[in-house]
């Protein structure tokens, strides 16, 4: 049974149609990669799936309750607070056990920095810290916008492992990413095929 059905979806931003007539469905335990050129509407589609953008035409239907984790370029980190304080906050919000915070930091190799303020971190470290929320949030559906941006190889492999584990547990992942290098069983949707000018040609 499909968890998400997208039918004839068209979205616009700033008065311009970004993509039109996108059709796909996602079932439980599936990983879907949205790829395409810059500006082809990967992030827009992801935001539409999350319910942050209303489509111009078509519809998005989730079969399960509204509970997912959405991560994009905004990292939700407070630079004055330490790594641990930042994650403890999200831990309290997600209502999971406190032990997991330090474990999550260790997994992303940030354990030795936990008492430092976030403002001293590099871009890649910030991204890793933000990805720690994947380990804390109980949501089954992950909507991720370029999760591998500024990550090193080590963090890349960890992320792949997390995706694999989430998939095995029956979780669903939708990733917007310009490259398509995930060593897992997955499907991809190229948004370049849904641009307005392509439709006019045919």
């Amino acid at each position: 049974m499909s968890e998400l059905t997208v039918h004839n979806l068209s979205c616009s931003r700033g008065g311009r149609v970004i993509f039109c007539k996108v059709n796909f469905s996602v079932h439980r335990g599936q990983i879907l990669i949205l790829n395409g050129k810059n500006g082809s509407g990967k992030s827009t589609l992801l935001r539409a799936l999350a319910g942050l953008i209303d489509p111009v035409a078509g519809y998005i239907q989730w079969s399960v309750n509204f509970s997912f984790l959405f991560l994009d370029h905004k990292d939700t980190l407070k630079s004055q607070l330490t790594l641990l304080e930042n994650l403890n906050f999200w831990n309290a919000i997600y209502d999971t056990s406190a032990l997991q915070v330090e474990a999550a930091l260790e997994i992303f190799a940030l354990g030795h920095l936990k008492d430092l303020p976030v403002q001293g971190l590099s871009l890649g470290q910030r991204q890793r810290l933000n990805l720690c929320r994947l380990l804390l949030c109980p949501a089954k559906i992950w909507l991720l916008d370029e999760p591998k941006r500024s990550l090193d190889q080590h963090a890349n492999r960890i992320l792949d492992m997390l995706f694999e584990r989430h998939q095995k547990n029956g979780g669903t992942i939708v990733i917007a990413s310009p490259e398509d290098s995930l060593p897992l069983q997955k499907d991809s949707l190229n948004l370049d095929n849904y641009q307005l000018y392509n439709k006019e040609d045919t």
């Binding site: 999350a50 942050l52 953008i53 209303d54 509204f66 509970s67 997912f68 984790l69 959405f70 994009d72 905004k74 990292d75 939700t76 980190l77 407070k78 004055q80 607070l81 304080e85 906050f89 999200w90 309290a92 919000i93 997600y94 303020p117 929320r133 949030c137 949501a139």
Partner: protein, 227 residues
């Protein structure tokens, strides 16, 4: 219910930690209040009767300004860094988020001012009796300022560079609070009953408390969508 208070508590603590790490925010507010209040005796002269007459009104006015100065930053950081979205997706009640922000704003921007009122009032030659009434009316009145401010701050979130829009928007809405607040001190000073003014002020408090939380959360949802 217990859970709701817990999530509120978590957010208030989180906000406080941030504010205490960068102290300039509320210290600037306090500095503005004291500096502005002390300039008045210099500009209008040190005549006791005049200062006693206008002192309460002055302090009320400056409290309004001090409270409205920091409103613009009340929600912007959490809006821009995605915290608001993440809370929304975690099915965190945005009403609790607004309430936590109002509590933080009041404690950081109005409470320090309230505590400094006696010192400033002495410089403006107010009597002990007036100072007591002033503090009483301010402690009912200043939360209302934060309530109204939260509505304006959430409404203007999507607008870039709105640093003076929010104070401009809220000052007319602050007028009723100012009138009843100042008049309660004046009435008691003239030997009249101050009860009606304090009742009106409390009425405004209980009217704005639920309104600000509900409208604020509604505005936040609107802003999330339009991004």
């Amino acid at each position: 219910m217990k859970k709701l208070f817990y999530v509120l508590w978590v957010l208030v603590v989180h906000n406080f930690r941030q504010a205490l790490r960068e102290k300039n925010e509320f210290l600037l507010n306090l500095g503005f209040f004291v500096a502005a209040a002390l300039i008045f005796p210099l500009s209008i002269g040190p005549e006791f009767e005049l200062l006693t007459r206008i002192g309460a009104g002055l302090i009320w006015t400056l409290t309004l300004f001090a409270s409205s100065l920091s409103l613009q930053r009340m929600f912007t950081a959490d809006f821009e860094d995605g915290t608001l979205e993440a809370l929304y997706f975690a099915s965190y009640p945005l009403e609790a988020f607004v309430a936590a922000k109002i509590i933080t704003h009041w404690i950081l921007c109005s409470l320090p001012v309230l505590l400094l009122v006696p010192a400033v009032a002495v410089c403006l030659h107010l009597s002990i009796f007036q100072i007591g009434l002033l503090i009483l009316s301010l402690s009912i009145g200043t939360p209302i300022l934060s309530f109204i401010g939260a509505i304006a701050a959430t409404l203007t979130l999507g607008i870039k560079s709105n640093s003076f829009l929010v104070p401009l928007l809220v000052l007319p809405l602050y007028i009723p609070v100012l009138i009843f607040g100042v008049n309660s001190v004046e009435a008691a000073f003239l030997g009249l009953s101050l009860k009606p003014y304090l009742f009106m002020l409390s009425g405004l408090f209980f009217l704005n408390l639920p309104l600000s939380i509900l409208i604020g959360a509604f505005n936040l949802k609107l802003n999330l969508k339009s991004l």
